[in-house]
């Protein structure tokens, strides 16, 4: 794996994992909204 591929992999993994975290945050607030 060269440096460019590694940089691309790092950014892709970071974005995916960050998106998962955001989805859990918004998702659980939505559960609260729907139940109240």
């Amino acid at each position: 794996m060269n440096d460019a591929e590694r940089k691309k992999g790092i950014r892709r993994t970071a974005l995916i994992v960050g998106a998962i975290a955001l989805a859990f945050y918004i998702g659980f607030i939505m559960i609260g909204v729907l139940r109240s």
Partner: protein, 533 residues
């Protein structure tokens, strides 16, 4: 656009650490940031420990001695928040920062500038939290679980509590992103996932847990904030909300949080026991699957914390059996540690002593956990000192002993010198005796019906409380030995690169102390293979 380690190393090849305070404020070096995390957590352990001393002094004899009951409640609340979010979690993040790049042959964490942010958010968060001690109405006193409607009675401290929890969450999430990205993208050539050391594996699983549950905590406290200040009624019964829903959401975070604090400890112990048994870890792959199973199960057991709120029988049965199921992969781990030691050429240096105590005492915490998992019994144990005994056995001789084991194990690699083994053993024996003196009597207190979170108690509970208080003060004082060992760590004999005779892994192939930059070119496949075969 984020900055990756590849960017930084394009431009900064041959430099050592910066001079002065700037080295620490602006550091992007994983070793510096790891050191800062570890020092921060040590300070927080002493701050949280001082609060524990207030609690145990007040409880040493019946009656009100030293503090107002409201302040006592603040102490239990702040002690928990500081020990969990300021002590145990940052200590493991510090160990991850120092050791994961060294163990996988990476030059640094993948996102080094974000790493700097992850750390420096923490002192701000805890500065805000500790400042609430001086606010009108005092520090938060509704328990670390922040259940509404009680927590909404917090005084001026309330928004500061919520803000500090958000900051701690942001720091943890950024740290977890960094760990995942580093492990997925920066491993040495030939190091397949199943060849990774157990500490790296357990941290990868822990990081996924953090990504899933810290935002849930953030969501829960955001809803508390809007209930208090913006007229919503998520948890307010008067407005059509449901206070029990907070408990469900909180414990959906809270139970995996328990495993966030124990899985890296499993990883540490899985590194140390093979070294001092001079054998390979028994059942490496089964250890990985067991850790992953524990992580999965941790998401489906949350309601065992709230059997007493009233739930359908089917719900009680599901959460009871799912909780008991966790004993299976945990048992696999304990079996594998014992099997690793079986017929090994064992020696008992300080890291091994702490690891052995971990296996034995954590298992006691596991057994009392099984007792609490039984719904009918839990109705009796709920909110008693039995619960306090249980989770302190899991967290103190569990997580904290593993952190101590890790510090003794890797300290020579960090400093380049051997620590004082005699003092290390003195620290171990004092800690082990006093930790049991503190927490074992709490089982009896709980079974006899003493409730938790009270500053006074009925006189029949006096003797065990006095013993626990003596133990707590002894345990607190014993930790000064650790501080002395760390402060004098640079005076010991020069450490070899490998440090321990039975050690394996890439971290032992670099000099002691580990140079400021390591593995700027990835280790040769052959070396990586030899280290892990």
């Amino acid at each position: 656009m984020s900055t990756t380690v590849a960017d930084l190393h394009d431009h900064h090849d041959d430099h050592g650490p910066a001079k002065g305070i700037g080295r620490w404020l602006f550091s992007t070096n994983h070793k510096d940031i790891g050191t800062m995390y570890l020092i921060f957590s040590l300070v927080m352990f002493f701050v949280g420990g001082a609060m524990a001393m207030v609690i145990r002094s007040e409880l040493a004899i019946p009656g009100l001695q030293f503090v107002h009951p409201e302040f006592y409640n603040s102490m239990t609340t702040m002690h928990a928040l500081i020990m969990i979010f300021g002590g145990v979690m940052p200590a493991f993040v510090g160990l991850a920062n120092w050791m994961i790049p060294l163990m996988i042959g990476a030059p640094d964490m993948a996102l080094p500038r974000m790493n700097n942010w992850s750390f420096w958010i923490l002192p701000v968060a805890f500065g805000i939290l500790l400042s609430t001690l001086f606010m009108p109405g005092g520090a938060p006193a509704g328990g670390w679980t922040m259940y509404p409607p009680l927590v909404l009675q917090t005084g001026d401290a309330f928004p500061y509590l919520i803000f500090s929890i958000h900051l701690m969450g942001i720091s943890s999430i950024m740290g977890a992103i960094n760990v995942i990205v580093t492990i997925i993208n920066m491993r040495a050539p030939e190091m397949t996932l199943l060849k990774m050391p157990m500490f790296v594996w357990t941290w990868l699983i822990t990081a996924y847990l953090l990504i899933a549950v810290m935002p849930v905590l953030a969501g829960a406290v955001t809803m508390l904030l809007t209930d208090q200040f913006f007229g919503t009624s998520f948890f307010l019964a008067a407005g059509g909300g449901d206070p029990v829903m907070f408990q469900h959401i909180f414990w959906f975070f809270g139970h995996p949080e328990v495993y966030i604090m124990i899985l890296p400890a499993f990883g540490v112990v899985s590194e140390i026991i093979p070294t001092f048994s001079r054998k390979k870890l028994f059942g490496h792959d089964s250890m990985v699957y067991a850790a992953a199973s524990i992580a999965f199960l941790s998401f489906i057991v949350w309601a065992h914390h709230m059997f007493t709120v009233g739930m359908p029988l089917s719900g009680q049965l599901f959460f009871m059996f799912a909780t008991m199921l966790i004993a299976v992969p945990t048992g696999v781990k304990v079996f594998n540690w014992v099997a690793t030691m079986w017929r090994g050429a064992m020696t008992f240096e300080t890291p091994m002593l702490f690891s052995l105590a971990f296996v034995f005492l954590f298992t006691i915490g596991g057994f009392s956990g099984l007792m609490l998992a039984a719904a009918p019994a839990d109705i009796q144990y709920h909110d008693t000192y039995f619960v306090v005994a249980h989770f302190h056995y899991v967290l103190v001789p569990g997580s904290i002993f593993a952190i101590m084991a890790a510090v003794y194990y890797w300290l020579p690699k960090w400093t380049g010198h051997m620590y004082n083994e005699t003092l290390g053993k003195a620290h171990f024996w004092a800690s082990t005796i006093f930790v049991n003196l503190t927490f074992f009597p709490m089982h009896f207190l709980g079974l006899a019906g003493m409730p938790r979170r009270i500053p006074d108690y009925s006189t029949q509970f006096t003797d065990f409380n006095t013993v626990a208080s003596i133990g707590a003060i002894g345990f607190g004082l014993s930790q000064l030995i650790l501080v002395w060992v760390i402060l004098t760590a640079w005076k010991g004999a020069k450490a070899t690169d490998r440090v321990w005779e039975g050690s394996h892994g890439l971290e032992w192939t670099v000099p002691s102390p580990a140079p400021y930059h390591t593995f700027e070119t990835p280790p040769k496949a052959r070396i990586a293979n030899e280290a892990f075969e």
